[in-house]
């Protein structure tokens, strides 16, 4: 895991508790750390140079604000500059003409086909009638892949098989859209190398023929230093109008986003954040800045919690806790809700400051613990889950065997559960309202 920039700058400024203005030498030291942090986040080295120059200009002579340490002050400047560089979130521009044609281009394996499906679903939710066009005749089964996505989403796909010519397919696809009243066309083109002249010529021809209103470059968030070259080449060839970063649900810092944004000066319009077809998000520069700096992403965490927690379930559990008949089965349900939000390690990373606290702690252990607890409870009968008191030695042995754990681990869980019940009892007698509010806040 990369050390967050905040931590790094803190160590530069440690022992330097002075207030007042940031001096040239403070800034020099800090800029080296900023440079390294950005390079480690895969921001292109040339982009880093320009970026650092801008930050230096803003930082020298700057007053250290009352509430901030010099380190925090520099982080704030970097953060602000990152947001400026990342620019305003781009929104799709579909114009007035129907159908609006959106063309997706990019390297092999960036995720164009999956993104075509996600975009189509997103646009249908916006009230549009999308048609997908399968123009990747090269990769084996690429057309089948788009057809399958189309069937899953119940969104039509136009294709002419693998024998067709991509330019003709796109032209015919748009014609098909016109005569069938589709309002949006998404062209899924083959992945290609930015230096493959023949293949780049093909997308130029498609562009010239169908005149798409949006030309979106789909790029993998894990891309390294090449991001600049790739974005520049595609931009020179077909004048891209927006960027889509994919696989943002991975743990790459995503510095490619800054590099591509800076050299093309086109906005980032969407992020791909998962394998499901609804895993598409609008771009938020502040969140991306936090991620690149390793500063945590509380907003995403909160959104995730709201999205994944089943409101009714949460309320039911809350009521049960208060009424005192919260049993092991409810406990299991709660745990499963938490698990739905994703790997614990990743959740922890979203909490500011947490990355420092949990450094060196193996979060997969916590994950393992959760699974063990789950296994233990699942090895109990419903009766045992409701009335843990009936658990005596022989039942415990059976549960331990069934869950692949030991009797000690079963006992440990039961003790934790009793402690929890005890705590709830205390809350009930007195500060009950507080808990109720807490539960409401969660739901």
């Amino acid at each position: 895991m990369f050390e967050a920039l905040g931590d790094r700058l803190q160590s530069v400024f440690d022992g330097l508790q002075k207030r007042g203005k940031l001096t040239e030498s403070d800034v020099d030291k800090a800029m080296r750390e900023v440079r390294l942090a950005l390079l480690e986040a895969d921001v292109n080295f040339k982009v880093v140079k320009r970026f650092v120059a801008r930050v230096r200009k803003r930082a020298v002579g700057k007053e250290v604000m009352g509430s901030l340490t010099p380190g925090q002050q520099v982080v704030k400047i970097v953060h602000d500059e990152l947001i400026t560089t990342l620019g305003d979130p781009g929104r799709l521009n579909l114009g007035m003409q129907s159908p609006a044609v959106i063309m997706l281009v990019g390297l092999q394996g960036a995720g164009k086909t999956t993104m075509a499906g996600k975009l189509a679903l997103y646009l249908r939710k916006q009230g549009r009638r999308p048609l997908m066009v399968a123009a990747d005749v090269y990769r084996p089964a690429a057309i089948d892949q788009l057809q399958i996505l189309g069937r899953q989403l119940d969104i039509p796909v136009y294709d002419e098989g693998v024998k067709g010519d991509p330019v003709t397919i796109c032209t015919n696809g748009v014609k098909h859209a016109v005569s069938n009243n589709f309002t949006t066309v998404i062209l899924d083109t083959a992945g290609r190398l930015n230096i493959d002249e023949m293949m780049m010529e093909e997308i130029k021809k498609i562009k010239a023929t169908v005149n798409p209103i949006e030309m979106l470059l789909v790029a993998d968030a894990m891309t390294g230093q090449q991001a600049v070259r790739v974005a520049t080449d595609f931009n020179n060839a077909v004048e891209i109008t927006g960027l889509i970063m994919t696989k943002v649900d991975g743990d790459a810092r995503g510095g490619a986003a800054i590099s591509m944004r800076e050299v093309t000066d086109v906005p980032i319009k969407f992020l791909g954040v998962g394998e499901k077809l609804n895993a598409i998000e609008l771009f938020h520069p502040d969140r991306m800045a936090n991620r690149i700096l390793g500063m945590g992403d509380m907003l995403t965490l909160i959104e995730k919690a709201q999205e994944e927690m089943d409101q009714e379930e949460a309320e039911k559990a809350g009521k049960k806790m208060l009424s005192g008949d919260f049993n092991l089965d409810d406990f299991l349900g709660q745990m499963q809700q938490i698990k739905k939000m994703g790997p614990i390690g990743k959740l922890m990373d979203m909490i500011p400051g947490m990355s420092k606290m949990t450094k060196g702690v193996d979060m997969s252990n916590a994950e393992g613990d959760l699974r063990r607890i789950e296994a233990i409870i699942q090895s109990m009968t419903m009766k045992e889950r409701r009335y843990p008191k009936i658990l005596k030695a022989s039942r415990k042995r059976r549960i331990a065997a069934g869950s692949g754990t030991s009797v000690q681990e079963v006992n440990q869980l039961l003790k934790q559960f009793r402690d929890m019940q005890q705590m709830m009892k205390q809350l009930r007698s007195g500060k009950g309202r507080g808990l109720q509010n807490l539960m409401r806040g969660l739901g």
């Binding site: 089964a141 089948d144 390294g224 991001a227 790739v230 696989k247 991975g250 790997p343």
Partner: protein, 301 residues
């Protein structure tokens, strides 16, 4: 049969590493030389820690061995890079046994399915009897995609239903390989991000299916990394290694402008050798990795 590794790397060396010798020139070593070197290494995705290590080592050697010209530095850099790609452990695919199982893993879009097609072609031409198991039951049309490659390589394939249990397909593959006397089984797996807990557990299950059925299997677990990937490649390799004990790397998409510089860090920190490089979309676009040639190729202008 194969394009030579030098041909495949032609574009790479013409762009960046080729520039190293050029950029450093033949003049005296100055502070600027060090900065240029740092930039060039970072630009090749060698990564900050490995770049720092290389620069520090070279600075030390410069003092100790009394270099003063930049071209001497280039020679020393080559040596250090070669040192990073230390000796390879033996490649288990080449060992004689009744059935060799190779598990192919990696993140989404790195090129696993294409690579398996190329591997099948390669080993069939070497006289092995190859079978494929379509373990990517998740991505739409992934099974169809592998079937096309099996067809092209003229090798049989075992597949289940889309959405099925990949461990079950793996088991079917092993049974078929045994029953019909194949000696080399490649198991394709769905792309997964290494931070997805449940998907990594699924991979663990596929691995243990192999381990339970055949002695010492899987004999190789190869991670497919795509050359344009930056620093995250190291994390990917590390996480996959933790879960399924990866034994080697296949570096794909080296025909672009990407340098694949992160293989140095992967060698250094994880001891994982690169076994093949992928250099195009055709079935023969796969070359066995040769460290000396790789480093030399990077420097030829």
């Amino acid at each position: 049969m194969f394009k030579s590794i030098r041909d495949s790397l032609a574009r790479t060396r013409n762009t960046v590493f080729g520039q190293i010798a050029h950029a450093l020139g033949t003049g005296d070593i100055t502070e600027e030389t060090w900065e240029d070197l740092e930039d060039l290494l970072v630009q090749a995705d060698v990564g900050v820690p490995t770049t720092m290590l290389l620069v520090d080592t070279l600075r030390e050697r410069t003092t100790k061995e009394g270099f003063y010209r930049a071209d001497q530095l280039t020679e020393a850099l080559k040596e250090e890079l070669r040192n990073l790609l230390a000796e390879n452990p033996p490649f288990a695919i080449n060992k004689k046994r009744l059935l060799t199982i190779v598990l192919v893993v990696g993140v989404n879009g790195s090129g696993k399915t294409t690579t398996i097609g190329k591997l099948a072609h390669h080993y069939k031409n070497e006289g092995r009897s190859v079978l494929l198991a379509a373990g990517d039951t998740f991505r739409a049309a992934a099974i169809d995609q592998l079937k096309v490659w099996a067809d092209r390589a003229d090798v049989p394939i075992i597949s289940g239903q889309p959405g099925g249990d990949p461990a079950a397909t793996t088991y079917d593959g092993i049974r078929a390989a045994r029953g019909r006397g194949f000696d080399l089984l490649f198991v394709d797996t769905a792309g997964r991000l290494h931070n997805k807990f449940n998907l990594m557990r699924e991979l663990e299950k596929i691995r243990s299916t192999c381990a339970k059925s055949v002695h010492e299997a899987p004999h190789e677990v190869l991670i497919v990394l795509d050359a344009p990937t930056g620093q995250n490649a190291l994390i990917q390799a590390k996480k996959f290694k933790e879960v399924v004990d990866v034994t080697g790397v296949i570096l794909t998409k080296l025909d672009g402008t990407a340098k694949g510089g992160m293989v140095f860090a992967i060698y250094r920190e994880l001891g994982l050798p690169v076994r093949f490089i992928g250099t195009g979309e055709k079935i023969e676009d796969l070359a066995p990795f040769d460290a000396d040639q790789f480093v030399d190729g990077l420097f030829e202008a």
